[in-house]
């Protein structure tokens, strides 16, 4: 962790400012985005919904950002301890972890494609994404295991 601290602090602060901007922008955008033709009958509920959705949305965003920041900290701390010898397996192993997108892909691919064209489209994208992500996951973990097994084997022999 030899990054100049000041630089990272400044970068972080500007990130915060940026994010504040986005957060501040949520309200109008949501209102705009959700302004679907609202059936007059359920208009009360609709309103309540929108209000809840906005404030809920913000809470979620703030929590997600917090999680992001903490995870970056954990990442830097943990990875900085990996010795040079293991940097290649580290690359392939962390690569496999980034295949976590498969989680999103699974949900997308499970859409009922027979119902709506948009769902069919999403499901199609989803299945391709699953294939790509699973290559990433299985390939990554497996090849890492192959490499690491070599390091371990050698340890026992002498």
């Amino acid at each position: 962790m030899q990054f100049p601290r000041l630089v990272s602090l400044v970068a972080f602060a500007s990130l915060v400012v940026l994010v504040c901007g986005i957060v501040a922008a949520i309200e109008p955008a949501t209102d705009g985005g959700e302004a679907e033709p609202s059936a007059d009958a359920a208009s009360l509920q609709q309103n309540t919904d929108a209000k809840h959705s906005t404030s809920n949305r913000r809470e979620v965003l703030v929590a997600s950002l917090t999680i992001f920041v903490l995870a970056v900290f954990v990442g830097f701390e943990v990875i900085a301890k990996v010795p040079t010898t293991l940097h290649t397996p580290l690359m392939s192993g962390s690569n496999a972890i980034s295949g976590i997108t498969v989680v999103g892909a699974l949900i997308a691919a499970s859409e009922h494609w027979e119902k709506l064209p948009s769902m069919a489209f999403t499901a199609g994208l989803g299945v391709i994404a699953i294939v790509l992500a699973m290559i990433n996951v299985v390939g990554g973990f497996l090849v890492t295991h192959r490499m690491l097994a070599m390091f371990q084997r050698k340890k026992k022999s002498p």
């Binding site: 690359m91 498969v102 009922h112 989803g126 490499m147 371990q152």
Partner: protein, 463 residues
């Protein structure tokens, strides 16, 4: 509904397993278990997601097809790939990860569940980073494979300007997306974003020289993580955010490390054009090169007390690691101390040489880091440079104008005798001549790495 939240808690467990897994990577002893923990975390995440899908009554046909095809392809790739081709493999996997992010974010946009500003921004970011990663990785892999197409850095005139224009265009498209909210317009804009980002990915990577590909791969590794994190913001899933950030951090650390080892800034790697202008005349430098034969080398090795191997990219190309190990063993049997000096950017990715030598069963206690071996280089009787070039080029110390100026190198020129094994006098990836080859204490031994070493072994056994 209840199950849903419980499941989300289980996701936290998966994320924790990833972290424990990466912590395991801190030592070769625990690394295998660490990797398995990571894989277990992934399994938990996938099974949990399938539970969600099942509970919400989703369709499983496509899911199952995707899982099987993807896993099979991944397994074949992982089991078939040669250790020396690891950089390409990592590059390819990066690209796939990025591609998946583009598609998932796109799919979510089409469904149009959530259209608040932050989600739209996250969607655009997923699309941009994902597409840049995907195409950038493919180009990088092509370069690493030394495919004819990508052979040398190719730039349009005013490439930097075009790239900057594309970046601005992406920014505008993103703003447009946020502004237009959910709907057909934003889907169209998203497609445009993906296309423009793809072009940008190709341009950015294509104008970087092949020697810098490893840095690019590490950076793209980081990007693939960030793309996953952005997708996490899109589908509001914390495990994606956490894992993505972990990978992002990993990529940044490795990139930083490589840049430092080459004494260059990241900016210079990405946008700097390597000037090949001021290079001294190669013929002149190589006037006094002396070559030798296997028998000569065997004779020199015979009397040596301490021998250091300095492997480089050529060892990977020649798959000479097993031969090197044999020669090492032979020397040790004769009472010689044998060590391996590993430069941090030898080969084509960080730790490349370590993996190859581990494959050949070389004890990792014998692998010494550059900073560790340089101070005692004077007491080395014979340094055998096998397929390394740039990482032992003393010009980095002497010529402040050359492209690798200031890069710390392994000071083999200080050893009593240096034997350089390579096929010709042609330069390494930095494309500059190496005065080491012409030094008075250097002997060149031309030939393919593996064959050369085997010849030496044979010659030593003869005597």
């Amino acid at each position: 509904m209840n199950l849903d939240t419980v499941i989300k808690v289980v996701y936290i467990l998966a994320a924790a397993l990833f972290i424990f897994g990466l912590k395991g990577m801190a030592h070769p002893r625990t690394a295998v278990r660490g990797n398995l923990l990571g894989a277990a975390g992934m399994l938990i995440a996938i099974v949990t997601t399938l539970l969600i899908v099942w509970q919400e009554g989703g369709r499983f046909e496509l899911v199952i097809v995707g899982l099987i095809v993807g896993s099979a392809l991944g397994a074949v790739l992982a089991l078939r790939i040669q250790m020396s081709a690891m950089p390409q493999m990592v590059g390819l996997l990066n690209g796939f990860g990025g591609g998946a992010s583009v598609l998932v974010a796109g799919g979510e946009l089409i469904l149009g569940r959530e259209g608040s500003a932050d989600v739209l921004v996250a969607t655009a970011v997923s699309g941009i980073i994902g597409a840049v990663t995907f195409w950038g990785s493919l180009v990088a892999v092509g370069k690493l494979q030394e495919l004819q197409w990508f052979k040398k850095p190719y730039s349009l005139p005013a490439q930097q300007l075009i790239n900057a224009a594309l970046a601005v265009l992406l920014l505008l498209l993103t703003i447009g997306m946020v502004w237009s909210g959910l709907g057909a317009t934003s889907i169209l804009l998203y497609v445009l974003i993906a296309v423009v980002a793809s072009v940008l990915g190709v341009f950015l990577t294509n104008s970087i020289g092949g020697a810098d590909m490893p840095v690019v791969i590490a950076l793209l590794n980081s990007y693939s993580g960030l793309a996953a994190a952005a997708t996490g913001f899109v589908i509001d899933n914390n495990v994606l955010i956490i894992s993505g950030s972990l990978v992002g951090a990993s990529g940044v650390i490795l990139t930083n490390l490589m840049c430092k080892a080459m004494n260059r800034s990241l900016f210079n790697v990405l946008f700097g054009v390597m000037q090949a202008g001021t290079i001294a005349n190669a013929d002149e430098i190589y006037a006094t090169v002396r070559s030798s034969s296997a028998d000569d080398v065997a004779m020199i090795l015979d009397g040596a007390q301490r021998v250091v191997f300095v492997p480089g990219y050529g060892m990977a190309v020649a798959q000479a690691q097993h031969a090197v190990r044999d020669l090492g063993k032979l020397l040790e049997m004769r009472g010689t101390t044998v060590e391996y000096a590993i430069h941090p950017v030898a080969g084509r990715m960080p730790g490349h040489m370590n993996v190859l030598l581990a494959e050949a069963d070389v004890d990792y206690d014998k692998l010494k880091e550059m900073d560790h071996i340089n101070p005692t280089m004077e007491t080395v009787d014979v340094a055998i440079v096998i397929g390394a070039n740039d990482v032992v080029n003393p010009m980095a110390r002497t010529d402040p104008k050359c492209p690798i100026a200031g890069m710390p190198i392994i000071d083999v020129d200080k050893a009593r005798t240096v034997i350089v094994i390579k096929r010709s006098l042609s330069p390494g990836f930095a494309g500059i001549p190496n005065p080491l080859f012409a030094a008075p204490n250097t002997l060149m031994f031309y030939g393919d790495g593996q064959k050369a070493i085997l010849d030496i072994v044979a010659a030593m056994k003869d005597t």
